[in-house]
């Protein structure tokens, strides 16, 4: 769907929530973190990242706040809200179920 990341729809949002679980980050840092942790497998384009962030904002799963960044430029930091935490748990369960199902099919079919 969106972007070239090849992710299942909705997965990107879940990953962002997971990354924000630790600390508040700005968009660029989120993209970096995604890339690093996935060992360059997931290179999320900006045209996918920012819409995903907007969707999270709109749903109230994350909050945004302008703060000075490490290089003293104004940056917008995203942090998880309680609703976002709950959502992450729910999505993880759903995702695990889905992956298990896919794996079962791949192994037995």
């Amino acid at each position: 769907m969106h972007g070239a990341s090849g992710l299942l729809p909705g997965t990107l949002e879940m990953l962002i929530l997971r990354i924000l679980l630790r600390d508040a980050l700005h968009g660029y840092a989120i993209a970096q973190r995604l890339k690093d942790i996935s060992r360059d497998v997931l290179q999320v384009g900006e045209s996918s990242l920012y819409p995903a962030l907007q969707r999270l904002l709109l749903n109230g799963y994350v909050e945004a706040e302008w703060r000075p960044s490490e290089n003293n430029r104004r940056a917008r930091y995203y942090s998880l809200t309680p609703a976002g935490r709950k959502q992450l748990v729910a999505e993880r369960e759903e995702f695990d179920r889905l992956v298990a199902a896919i794996r079962r099919i791949l192994q037995t079919a």
Partner: protein
Amino acid sequence: MRSLLRRLRARIRYRRFDSDLAEEMEFHRAMKQRELERAGLTENEATVQSRREMGSVTLARERSREIWIAVWLDSLQQDVRYALRSLGGQPGSTIAAGTVLVLGIGLNTSLFTFFNAVALRPWSVADPGSVVTAHYVHSSASGRGTSGFGIAEYRYLNDHARTFSGLIAWRQSGARLGHEEIEGQTPFSFVSGNYFDVLGVHMLYGRGFLPDEDRVGNPQGVAVISHGLWERHFAADTAIVGRVFRVDNVPFTIVGVAPQMFDGTERPNAQSFWLPLASLPLLSADPAQAVSLLTNPSHCCSRMAGRLAEGVTREQARAELEVLSRQFRTQWNEQALKNAPLVLSGTAFLAQPGVKASLIPILALMFAAVMLVLLLACANVGNLLLARALARQREFAIRLSLGASRRRVVRQLLTEGLMLSCSAGTIGLLVAYALPALLLRAVIDDEVPSGIAPDARVVVFTLGIAALACLLFGLAPALKATQAAMETLVARREVTRTGRRLRSALLAAQLALSVILLASASLLVRGVQQAQTQDPGFQVDDVFVVSLAFPGQAYDQARGRAFVSELHTALKADDSFGSVAVTNTVPLGNTRNMTSFRLPGEDEKQSRMIQMESVSPEYFTVLRIPVVAGRHLDATDRPGGAITINEAMARRYWPDGSPIGQTIVFRDRRREIVGIVRNAHTTGLDTVEPVYYELTAGEPSTRLLLRSRTSDPTPRVQALVSGLDNRVTVQARPLATYRDRSLEPSRVMALTAGAVGLLALLLASVGVFGVFSYVVNERTREIGIRMAIGARASQVIWLVLDSTAWATLGGLAGGFLASFVVSRFLTGQLYGVSRLDPTAYAMVATVLTLAATLATWLPARRATRVDPATALRVE
């Protein structure tokens, strides 16, 4: 619910999401740039590289925006804003397109407004859905006809019907009011006493009729007047109730003023006032006959309607009425309407039996004409938009390459079209508010039907028309232009010669449509011309119609008869006048005396309707109508004796033998035919109906025809009348004015058709002009090169013409073919002019050639002035 609140909060908190997003993405890019610089790139390289890596920022923003705002709503707003800017950017062509559309839509809406008000809307009464009109339907050789009910029959039905909460009856009539000139005929109805109660019409002032005011044998001079009459004639006097006004010089007391919306039950003819049926004898020259009309079971032809009782279906009501009417006729041994079936229908004019069949073709023709104008307007605007859209290819190409979908761009263009057509529709509605009433007032002298104004139905119609127009003129150019823009993207240069086939098709369609409209218009004009110049069969020049009005009650029948006879003698004795005749109808004067006759040996059932003229022997001398066989009526004949007939009657009833010496039976008396006179168009300029002439018995005919030796006989006639009785008012008018007036409807029709046709021509010319200008523009470069290598001006002009020659020829040929077909529907209005009339088509050809020459000449001339050097620099 909670998630909704959450969203709402987010929406408020991040309402500046757009600028936030822009700044944050710029930060993102800056970070990327820094990273690249660290990796060893120069600042400039890093800037460029970071930009490239960011990909389409616009796309990201667009997608983010989609998330925040219901997508369509946002893009709609955007489209509208953009459309406004783009339309405003080229005010000239916007105004041109808008004007053309206003004309197209305004015409359609006006016609529909009229049609809606006159034909579709039920009577303005309480709960019109439960009111039905009743008719007898009978089929005869001449087609299906309907007839009404006798007043005696109505009273019987009203007394016995259980399926109706009330039945009403009325008769339409006309009379001269005190203030009007002698020929004036104000339409009014005689109505049953329960009329206003059953219809649930609440008076603006005063009251409706009381049951006592409609008792046969006890006529009361009371009247309810319409809102229109109240305003026009009584200056909206609020203390009107109780005032007396004169109807045909008989005093009536006003008891009520009807509300503005109620214009009677004779739609589309508005009524000016209402009198009780029982007052018929007051206004009749023959009171005894009027009483018989009210009581004799064999009379017919009043109209009847009723309000269905609660829970009763139309079918139940119809069945009951049929049973009751059969009972009534058996009771009186009345055979007149044998077994004619009864029908109930709604109160809208179009719902009346027989109306649909006669009205639909005319309306279809009119709607077809205005629809053609709309199509023409659409073709025109379509062409204009196409040219404009093609000129914007570069812009579309850029937008497409920036990631806008083609659908989005098409929608953008359609929004522009929709804004154009909606604005045009709005102005069209305003036109429809004013135009129909204005036109009606110009055509009708009396009461204009109330409520000729757009209602919800009209608004819906206009919206539909506007949307249709938008699709018609907007979709094709939008698709074409975006396709061209996509080709531009691929070919990396502007596609210049595209949309050509579409443009040719539009041009051909425009030409064809305008040919159809022009041809119809010129045929109608020729028809009127023909009617005006044809020999009516009687002499119009120098003949004057003398009309008299007697001072009301002072003149009874005998007195009136005596006066006419004295005046006749006096006029004959005067040197200023040639022959003088007495008549009961004026030639082409809009009134007909219908009566029924049968041939000897036939029984009553075979009676047929015929027109009768009661005249004095001089009638034929004054009008110079010659006798073709037998003799004229003369002084030796007596009223009620011999008659003469016209050729049409002779041909219809005695196709083989001579009718001279034959007899016909009229009111149970045999009348001998002594002569046949030449056909004369005394009742209408189209076809001559069978007529028979009898000697006037001197019933208070108030009209004389005279042949004057002076140009204005009025003073002399006036003097003679005053000499006899100065209370009698008199008026003398040339017969020609009657002829002109009878042509009025046809003339209005021809005029309207002409106006529509000219409008069509104008639209088509603008269209042709536009297309040629465009062709010249498009090929400026080519023309320049050709001129540079020595092409002559004529060759260049031919080059331009050639590119549209097929479209032009095809359009014209198609138009002419189609008009042959269309003209079949016009034959009724052509007064004998052939529908292939060469003059009419020559007129069309001339006008079209002139218009086309003008429309092509200007662009063609510009083509020959193309400066090769400039032309080559164009690109």
